[in-house]
Amino acid sequence: MTLNINEIRKDFPILQRETREGVRVVYLDSTATSQKPVQVIEAMNDYYRRSNANIHRGVHTLAEEATSMYEGARERVAKFINAASSREVIYTRNTTESINLVAYSWARANLKAGDLVILTEMEHHSNLVPWHMLQAERGIELDFIPVTEDGLLDLDAYKSLLTRTPKLVSFTHMSNVLGTINPAAEIIKLAHKAGAVVLVDGAQSVPHLAVDVQALDADFYAFSAHKMCGPTGIGILYGKSALLEAMPPFLGGGDMIKEVKLRSFRPNTLPHKFEAGTPAIAEAVGLGAAVDYLSSIGMERIAAHEHEITEYALERLEEVPGVRLFGPSADKKGGVAAFTLQGVHPHDVAQILDQDGIAVRAGHHCAQPLHEKFGIPATSRASFYLYSTKEEVDMLVKGLYKVKEMFG
């Protein structure tokens, strides 16, 4: 069943706004951050108006309400990604912090000089820099699964990397530039066979695909609320409980402890062991509402809608003379179209499109090495979500012709 797009768009108040008089916003930047439905905005608003209190320690009504809203959201997130238990769902600030949590806690306890970590050439900076930092500190080795000309991971090269017995394989489930949906289950299976632990960057996949962490057999899985209709400031690290139990705490402070003496402490049980200090409570409530919202529509239907839009967008963009598209064909990618327009810098493209209310991103999208690989400093990127329409794609294409005319 297809989405009732008009009904869905009514849930997103921002899509009604004008960026200047008579110019309605055409939001094609959901890969950077998604817009928020009124259900999420209201849930957070209600929390602050009715239930705001600090969680876990209080016994008064508001504190109990806040605690059960915060923990209830965790239960819903666990169900949404099919975690075996909500103890395996750690609240963080965002995907970046989730990856850093693994790098600081698991990796510093388990990796030593010379140990190999396999990444890919299509990683976001958030899945590169934490490992660069560990490399400088520990002398670990890094190697990379190459990206092919058509934007796919070279799995044969991956298999030969695995013969060097890596300790960790960390890769993105879906590229934020190419849109490539990587064969995560296969990559994980091969890594496990080689004895490696696996971390998946799910920042782009969880918002757009039905993700089942148990079916994937991921050891760690990281994602952010703000790309999946939720608020900024909160993300998730899923980890298998056996791994999380064995890891040292990450940040120290309140809530992550069971007992504190003047000279020592005992860490709390999962998931609280990794959640020091007052967390983003309202944001957790918002994330819970976002999960409810997406579930009520259905991730399969959302994915199908995005696929239809993406297929149409690639087809239309290809028609524009001078446009070069990056990434695989529509059947192998999510709702992302990164492109260059010959003779015009992506910033100029984005700026001129903005005059017609069209919001696309321009730059290296925090994936500088990937752009270097393709020999370009930057791309323009249009990205789609459940509220995107074919009419919006048409406006983008029309806008590109206008850019060409100006730079003609």
Partner: protein, 131 residues
């Protein structure tokens, strides 16, 4: 927009008069705008009285960054280095004849930052150079 992409900017972007390298040169410096990967290199020749006699830039980036570099080269030829050191944000905006938001301002100011870092002999083209 039509303000932002005034003909003068498109013209200097498409047909720059001061694009190239000087070899030998007295001053040469290059840096990037980390936000968008724009890159500018500037080479200068300076005579015994400290006056800029030749100036060329090279690099890649958006129309705003490249056009402002071209306009900047044009404006400093024949000027003493002491005067070049005094150039600031407003001078660039006056040359471009437009007003810019905070993001695009970085594009416009990259060439001035690179120029001043080169003239002062600094290792990095910092934001403080153009305030």
């Amino acid at each position: 927009m039509d303000d932002l992409y005034r003909e003068v900017i498109i013209e200097h972007y498409k047909n720059p008069s001061y694009r190239g390298h000087l070899d030998p040169h007295d001053i040469s410096f290059a840096d990037n705008n980390p936000l968008c990967g724009d890159h500018i290199q500037i080479d200068l020749r300076v005579n015994g009285e400290g006056i800029v006699t030749e100036a060329l830039f090279d690099g890649h980036g958006c129309a705003i960054s490249q056009a402002s570099a071209d306009l900047l080269m044009e404006s400093i030829i024949g000027k003493p280095l002491e005067e070049v050191k005094k150039l600031n944000k407003q001078d660039i905006l006056d040359m471009l004849g437009i007003d810019l938001g905070p993001v695009r301002l970085k594009c416009a100011l990259l060439s001035l930052k690179v120029l001043k870092a080169g003239v002062y002999g600094l290792g990095e083209a910092g934001d403080d150079l153009v305030e």
